[in-house]
């Protein structure tokens, strides 16, 4: 499979979850394990351009796929517009849910570049945050929508 643009491979037991392959085998620990029961969305990554919860997918199901994790968002020192927006709008507090929220936010904006607040709330329905309380998350996605539409390149990339 390709992860963040890099070809990677490995042999795993069939029961290995995608999130464990990403974290333990590839060392990409930006993707978090939250509830491990498919509720919280902290482990959300993109598989072939669609968000999935990587604790609810087997690594073998993603063979040959293109995976995007939070580590693949920034380009060198330059944050992705959605990361920038979360940072500037206090869209995170403890940061545990953030990798998943960034993925869900980005996925929403790729399909709907100018969402309403209600559409943003629906877009992040699969991601639980226990501290920020969503208001600033929604604000951040709204800000990212603006900057990505202005910049253009952020939406096209990733």
């Amino acid at each position: 499979m390709k992860v963040n643009g890099k070809q990677v491979g490995g042999t795993v037991e069939p029961r290995t979850l995608l999130v464990n392959f990403i974290r333990d085998d590839l060392g990409l620990t930006g993707t978090h394990v939250g509830c491990d029961t498919g509720h919280c969305g902290a482990c959300t990554v993109m598989v072939d351009g669609r968000t999935v919860k990587s604790c609810m997918v087997l690594a073998v199901q993603a063979r040959g796929a293109e995976i995007l994790t939070v580590e693949g968002l920034a380009q060198g020192d330059k944050l992705h517009p959605i990361q920038e927006a979360f940072w500037k709008n206090h869209g995170l507090q403890c940061g545990f849910c953030t990798p998943g929220l960034l993925m869900s936010g980005l996925y929403l904006l790729q399909r709907n570049p100018d969402p309403t607040d209600e559409e943003i709330r629906r877009g992040i329905e699969g991601n639980l945050c226990r501290c920020t309380g969503y208001v600033n998350v929604v604000k951040s996605v709204r800000a990212a929508s603006k900057s990505m539409r202005k910049g253009g390149e952020g939406g096209a990339r990733a």
């Binding site: 037991e13 069939p14 029961r15 290995t16 979850l17 464990n20 491990d36 029961t37 498919g38 509720h39 969305g41 959300t44 598989v47 669609r50 968000t51 999935v52 919860k53 609810m56 997918v57 087997l58 073998v60 199901q61 063979r63 869900s104 996925y107 929403l108 629906r122 877009g123 329905e125 699969g126």
Partner: protein, 287 residues
Amino acid sequence: MIPKSFDYYAPASLDEAIRLLGENEEAKVLAGGQSLLPMMKLRLAAPTALVDIAKLPGLSYVRDEGDQLAIGALTTHDSIEHDRTIKDRFTAINDAVVRIGDQQVRNIGTVGGSACHADPAADLPTVLLVLDAQFVIQGREGQRVVPARDFFVDVFATAVGHDEILTEVRLAYPPPRSASAYVKHSLREADFAIAMVGAAVTVGDGNVCRGVRIGLGSAGPTPLRATSAERYLDGKALDDDAIATAAEMAVEGADPPSDVHGSREYRMEMIKVLTRRSLKLAVGRVK
């Protein structure tokens, strides 16, 4: 949480998948895995082998076939949600899929997977019963078509045999002046519903009912048709009184569980409320 060990197969064809199922008695079919994998992680399910059909070609589509719409078993909930024909002609399906799980689940979870999992508290089985869907099942000897009323057999059990695979769900286009709706009640959005009801109606002159199907979920081991309420409404004007009476009759035959999410009595009352709402919503949608 890690599932129990199992062998994993990724067959290249439907025939190979069916053969593998035949050779592995404890094997399960894996599609999106959004119901199966959580159960395996909790070790409520421990199949010795998974036959992953997700990458089999040609099983993900929504196709117009003249008098019916054909939906490939591997079509995701997200694709269904964005299908115009389904939204216009089979609105109850749209009502259901927009509230299935969350975006991540809808991106990978499939119609066929949900139907075959046959959780009595899941959304699609009830809706597919209400819409009188036909299920195309492929086996070693060829394919057979099973109507919805024979498809759901018991809790987590369908008419699909061990070495068979559901390949398609077919929906007959409803006659003119028909509409459908699906409503459910849960305490929190992502929870399994306490009660769920779908309704499909065809309306004639004078607002008279020319055909109705009412389906209940979470009201027994399989989704149920509220047949006495249906019989009562047939030929009657679909006004508030008739709908209210039908709603009272809808619980006949319903046998909802009593558990931490809701008592049996509460669920029975909610079935009546939701029957009324779904009928009114469906009637209001008739153009």
